[in-house]
């Protein structure tokens, strides 16, 4: 059981480039989330998904898009990267026992460190 995995682990982008971060889970969880973590800011929710084919905006969605075409994968896209998107990105999932997206403990992936120059 790999749990929650994220690829890539590290990435450096130039301003204006695009990229996709992949989150994969093998726990059969319904709910998946993308967070960013910045110094002094805590974790902030970017987008989340309550099931295959669904997505919803979180606290800081601007500049990001997401897709959940398969239950086990949640993709985070940056269409035109900006230096303000330099951050550590965490994916998380929650599953059986959850009555609503945030009503149960979340399992986090190892994170992706993204630098935009």
């Amino acid at each position: 059981n790999a749990g929650v995995t994220q690829t890539p682990k590290f990435r450096v982008l130039k301003t204006g480039q695009s990229m996709t971060l992949l989150c994969a889970q093998d726990m059969n969880h319904e709910y998946m989330y993308w967070y960013r973590q910045d110094p002094g800011m805590g974790l902030r929710l970017i987008h989340y998904s309550v099931g295959e084919g669904t997505t919803a905006k979180g606290e800081v969605p601007d500049g990001y898009n997401v897709s959940r075409l398969k239950k086990q994968n949640f993709l985070l896209g940056l269409e035109s990267a900006a230096p303000s998107q330099t951050s550590v990105y965490f994916c998380a999932t929650s599953g059986p026992g959850a009555t609503a997206p945030f009503s149960y403990e979340q399992y986090f992936g190892p994170g992706t460190r993204l630098t935009v120059t």
Partner: protein, 112 residues
């Protein structure tokens, strides 16, 4: 605006000490409060609290919620160097968007 505030921001103690970490919140429609421990990478779940006054315990860690004071504490007794981490508090707001709002964390350093 909804917010979660943790204190202290940073704490340095010696092994064996007992520490208390605080989390206070202002959230429109409270559903639950969660504590996470973050070491080098991803946060790991510690506790979920939904009812006031009921202590949750796991080994040397315990936590309790006070809905009247809009706060929670996380206690760690007989601290060990392995307890060194950032402790994150998060509150679930069930109103409309079901947001989970994180505090900025308390950095705990335990020295031998």
């Amino acid at each position: 605006e909804d917010k979660v505030v943790q204190s202290p921001l940073s704490l340095v103690v010696h092994e064996g000490d007992t520490v208390t970490l605080n989390c206070s919140y202002e959230v429109t429609n409270f559903r639950s409060l969660l504590w996470y421990k973050q070491e080098k990478k991803a946060p790991t779940f510690l506790f979920m609290l939904t009812s006031s006054g009921i202590e949750k315990k796991s080994g040397r860690l315990s936590s309790i919620l006070d809905k009247k004071e809009l706060s929670s504490i996380l206690n760690i007794t007989a601290t060990q160097t392995g307890d060194s981490a950032i402790y994150l508090c998060a509150v679930e707001d069930s109103y409309n968007t079901d947001k989970l709002i994180f505090g900025t964390g308390t950095r705990l350093q335990v020295f031998p």
